[in-house]
């Protein structure tokens, strides 16, 4: 006797009953208690077949291998830079992954990245102890200069990027800005001041209304109105 207690795309809170009976299976963000499936996080229900998962609406960023993130240089060590990842853990950008140049022994590492600089990196490896290695080698990676940084909740990042990057390219096209979205919720925007400000406002709007549907239309209306 299986019974679904929630609807697709409903907002649920931790502990809320999602389904009754053993027919349904707890997916990401859900767990089983006795014969009930319950929510582990605040988020939106997503039902696919027998599995119920939660798309989270809040929470801190959790580092994953291959994620592209934007970090802030917080320390310079003997063999690299320590990068704040906007999560509970910091990461290490080693010399060999930081730059393609040959670095002389004893060279001043602030030539490449200073404390306080923002760097676009990918996560190379996350150990079970949550030691994170990042690399700045790759297209579009490296030091970010001249733009501005906008911070959003990391769980809203998928909405900001959109399906196949649809939302972010909408903003890029309308505002003519270069935008880089880190999976950790740090976003870098660079362009003309007025357009940059519009892009930042659009991102703020997406973050605010991330749980609603029909967002793409609303953002495209907002951009059309602002960019004349």
């Amino acid at each position: 006797m299986a019974k679904l207690l929630v609807k697709e795309r409903q907002v649920v809170v931790p502990g809320e009953e999602l389904a009754e009976g053993m027919e349904y299976l707890p997916g990401f963000g859900a767990y089983r208690m006795d014969d009930h499936v319950r929510a582990k996080r605040l988020g939106i229900v997503n039902i696919s077949g027998r599995a119920i998962k939660i798309i989270p609406l809040s929470g801190r960023y959790n580092p994953k291998t291959d994620d592209a993130i934007i970090g802030k240089v917080i320390d310079i060590t003997l063999n690299g830079w320590r990068i704040d990842t906007n999560s509970a853990y910091t990461s290490l950008l080693s010399l060999k992954d930081g730059t393609t140049e040959y670095v002389q022994k004893g060279a001043d590492l602030t030539r490449y990245y200073k404390i306080g600089d923002y760097v676009a990196v990918t996560i190379v490896n996350v150990t079970s102890q949550k030691l994170i290695d990042v690399s700045a080698k790759g297209p579009g990676l490296g030091k970010l200069s001249e733009g501005r940084i906008v911070r959003v909740n990391a769980s809203k990042v998928p909405r900001i990027i959109g399906k196949g990057g649809s939302m972010i390219s909408l903003i890029k096209e309308a505002t003519n800005c270069r935008i880089m979205v880190g999976q950790n919720g740090i976003i870098w925007i660079s362009g003309e001041p007025k357009k940059e400000s519009i892009a930042a406002q659009a991102i703020g709007l997406i973050e605010e209304k991330a749980h609603l549907s029909g967002l793409t239309d609303e953002i495209s209306r907002f951009l059309k109105e602002k960019v004349k």
Partner: protein, 256 residues
């Protein structure tokens, strides 16, 4: 030394706007709500954009100062809750909290808005002490002006509790109010590069090199000033900042 954020901010200011799309002298939405606390004699909640400040007034009866036996006093304290910003810690008040409290206190005191003699109950024995507590709920910039505005609103909202000559009965509120004949409004003008702006966000506060808080009353008379920040200001700057503060004070006064 300029960092990336300051450079970016200056790029905006050169173009005549700010990072959130406002003009240099444009304020975020201001809301003032009076009477938000049941236990305080007077209270107010001020929101400027996302900045939120609560102000409470407690009326205390105590002995006057020996050199002013027939005058009541004003006491202002500010607490920056750790909840309101990642930069605030628990513990004794820091420099910033003390500065906010003193700037607010001075703005009201020096304007002469309060009639201290009217706060006297019996000369040499009992006077009213207006004790004001400022508590920050969220710091998104411009705590100074929000606190000053909230304090003014809270004093206006205050009703004296009953006092029978010995003890105060906080449960019974009388209809007696604190008389305020002037309304000193504090406006802080911030300087980034050569640009002057009001109502900064946290980012702008961080990037600013100097600031000047100007308290003024209805007829444009200055009551108090406070300079902050590391960079010096020259005469021209100060003149411009005072003019800008007076202009903006008139705008803010409408929210009371």
């Amino acid at each position: 030394m300029q960092n990336e954020m300051q450079k970016n901010m200056l790029k905006y200011l050169e173009a005549g706007l700010r990072r959130d799309g406002r003009k240099k002298d444009e304020w975020r939405r201001i809301s003032v709500e009076k009477g938000v606390s049941a236990n305080a004699e007077g209270s107010a909640r001020v929101k400027i954009g996302e900045t939120e400040v609560l102000v409470g007034v407690k009326m205390i009866v105590d002995k006057p100062y020996p050199d002013r036996p027939d005058e009541g006093t004003l006491m202002v304290g500010a607490e920056l809750l750790p909840m309101s910003s990642p930069d605030f810690e628990t513990g004794p008040p820091g420099i910033w909290a003390i500065e906010i409290a003193r700037v607010v206190d001075r703005g009201i005191r020096e304007s002469g808005a309060l009639d201290n003699k009217a706060l006297c109950i019996k000369a040499g024995e009992h006077v009213w002490i207006i004790s004001i507590d400022i508590v920050t709920i969220n710091d998104a910039g411009n705590l100074l002006d929000a606190s000053a505005l909230g304090t003014l609103a809270a004093i206006e909202d205050t009703r004296f509790p009953a006092f029978d000559g010995e003890a105060i009965d906080y449960k019974t509120k009388t209809d007696k109010r604190i008389k305020m004949n002037k309304h000193p409004i504090s406006v802080t003008v911030w300087k980034i590069g050569k640009h002057l702006l009001v109502d900064p966000t946290s980012d702008e506060e961080e990037a600013a090199e100097a600031r000047l808080t100007v308290a003024s009353i209805e007829d444009g008379k200055l009551c108090a000033m406070q300079k902050g920040g590391e960079e010096p200001l020259d005469m021209k700057d100060i003149q411009k900042m005072v003019d800008m503060a007076l202009e903006n004070a008139a705008k803010i006064r409408k929210n009371l």
